[in-house]
Each structure stands twice: as structure tokens, then as C-alpha cells.
Symmetry: C2
Subunit: 203 residues, 2 copies
Amino acid sequence: MNQPRVQEKEATSRRIILDCAARLFRTEGYAATSLRRIAAASNMKSGSLYYHFASKEEIITEVLNMGVQRVHDEVWRSTAELPPDADSHTLVRTAVRAHLAALHELGDYSSANVRIYGQVPEHVRNAHKPIRIAYEDLWIALLGRCVSQGSLRGDVSRRFISTFMLGAMNASLEWGTPESGRLQQMADDMAELFLRGIMTSNQ
Amino acid sequence: MNQPRVQEKEATSRRIILDCAARLFRTEGYAATSLRRIAAASNMKSGSLYYHFASKEEIITEVLNMGVQRVHDEVWRSTAELPPDADSHTLVRTAVRAHLAALHELGDYSSANVRIYGQVPEHVRNAHKPIRIAYEDLWIALLGRCVSQGSLRGDVSRRFISTFMLGAMNASLEWGTPESGRLQQMADDMAELFLRGIMTSNQ
DNA sequence: GTCTATATCTGGATAGAC
DNA sequence: GTCTATCCAGATATAGAC
């Protein structure tokens, strides 16, 4: 009865391959990352990858999806845990913290996603797109909760604000890898800039 | 006496090659963009590129540098033209407008820069780095003018704020190509978000 | 200044042994 | 599940004709 062991090994190898692939896609780019290099980093030979994945495109698809899915889940969970009457500042701060924490924890996956989304083959991008849109919609909904409290400014569209915020937060992936203590501080600083802007007085 | 004509043709071909290269680097990635494709897009054969450039790395270096240099120059010029006693809001709005206008005008150059900077061979990146740092320093200096007016918040470092703003603005390259009318509006909206944040009241 | 032709290398993917 | 061996397409770069 060693069926479970085999499945475990397959799942583990799969995960190792994806981790290495994500790291290489992030740092080298999509086309520059050969299956031979992914295999070597995973302590395998290139032919062996085809036991786990049908093609390079199947690997990048998995990497792209994982880069968004976990962030989505964390932001959803952390904001759903808040009391229904939580004020807008708390809501935004919580979502920003969750996004940045998950983003940097995922590291190579989310960074690879941000960096090479615009450069993968079009049908790969199209297959991934719904996951991105679902995540954007989550943010639109969060901002909707602010609107219903009358606290979100009305002169700029919610879609613009959410795209703006996501872009600003994702750009932080290019700043290097902060220790988790620093990350907390960074998230709070960024939430503050979002909420109140860069100036002292708001005349 | 056709020496000038020849130089003109060389300069023109060079520029065509760089334009095509920037567009391809942006959309396909660095490694995925072959010299054959750059040549084809430039209505040439791949061998001919070597008359104008010594290597693929020389091409990408030029593309990276152009992507920052023009933006730098535009932001510098537009803010230097302001009266020395211009208020902080005007200063920031002017710089944001200039950055976004130049960024989207350069299009493929700046977008290629943002997208593939982290994926280009290390010595290419190192050669380009001083130009990036000089531009960041320009923003630090602009924010310094706000500090001396007592209008920049003091609880977050100037370096953090400038990195935050540049990241947020550069992310807009991924939103598609706006018509120039829309671009003006976008720049003003973004400046507003920077200056006053996303909320209505700042209690 | 641009071409053709080519040397040399590395890529994704497959077949079949173990 | 992982290996070796291999096919074939496509890469950078060079050489030399025009």
C-alpha cells in the first residue's frame, strides 16, 4: 500500500519544479528560462519534467495562477474577518497589509506574474486573465464598502483607485526582499500614503 | 560631398532599429527577441544590424538608457521652469504630469525599461544603473523643495515616498495606451491621489 | 550600408530504457 | 518517476560579396 507515498512524491516534485520555475522566470524572463535550467535547478534532467507537465506553457500557467490566487485568498480572508461595521481606514489598512504580506511571501510567484504577464504567449495570458479580473473585482468591492460609508472620494472612479493601488503595491516587489519586520512597517507606511496622501496639511 | 547624407542615413537606420527593438523587447521580453526579428521589423536582414551595433547587448543598453533619459529631462525642464516660490502642490502636479507624459510618449522605451530591467544580464543592468539613480535623486530633490516649505509629511522618508510615487506612475504603463486627452486627466487624478489620498475627509 | 551564407550553439519536445 | 539519446528549429555572430 505505497500508493500514497507515490502521490506524495509526485506532488513534492511538482512543487519543487514550480518553485524553481517561478524563481527563474522572475529573474531571467520567460523565454530565457529553458526547461533544462528548470530541470537542473530541480535536480532533474529535462526529459523528466514531461512526466509532471505537458509543456513549458503548462508550467508558466501554473506559476501565473499561483501568483494571484494566494494573494486573493489572503486579502479576502483578512477582510472577511473584520466586523461588518469596521471603518474604512481599518478596512483599507487590513487589505493593504494582507496584499503586501502575501505578495512578498509568495515572492517569486507574484513577481514573476507582474514581470512577465505582458510577455507570455497570448493564449496563456488569456487563460490567466479571469483570475486577475476576479482579484481586481475583490478590490472594487472593498472600495465599495468605503463608498457606502461615504468615506471614499467621489471625484475619481473606484476602478482607477483600485488599479492605482494595486500597481503601487506590486511595484514594491522591485524594491528587494524586506525582512518581515520591515515589511509590516512598509505596509503601514503605504496604507498611510494611500489614505492621507504625501502632504502634511490638506487645505 | 555626400558625407552628411550617409551620416543621416546611418542615424536614421539606427533609430529605426532602436524603435523596433524597444517595441519587441517590451512585448516579447529580452531573450525572446531575436536579432532576426528586430532586423525583420526594421526591414533588414540580421547581418546588417552588426554594422550599427556590436551586439544585442549594445542595443538593449541604448534602449534602457533612452527609456529613462528623456523622462528625466522632461521632469527637470518642466519643474525648472516653475517660479522658485511655486507651492508644493503645483510642483508635485507639474512633475507628475511631466513624468507621465514623457513615459507614455516614449511608450515602448520606458515600458521595456520597467519590464525587463530586472531580467537583463547583470553587467548590462549595472551599466544602466547610474542613469536610474540620477533620476531618483531628481525626485528626492523635488520632494526636498516640499520639505523646505514644511508641506511634506515627516513620518515617512523622502526616499520611500519617491520610490512609491515612481512605482505607482510606472505601473500605469501596463494599463494600455491612453489618448493624450485621457492622459492629462489620468495625470491629474493621480497627482490628486498622491497629494490628498483616496479618502474624502482627513480627520 | 546591406546582403547571403554559414559556423556554432542551445532551445522544446519525444521515444524508449530502466 | 527519472534517465539517456535524439530530432529539428531557431539563436548569435562572423565572413565576405556587392
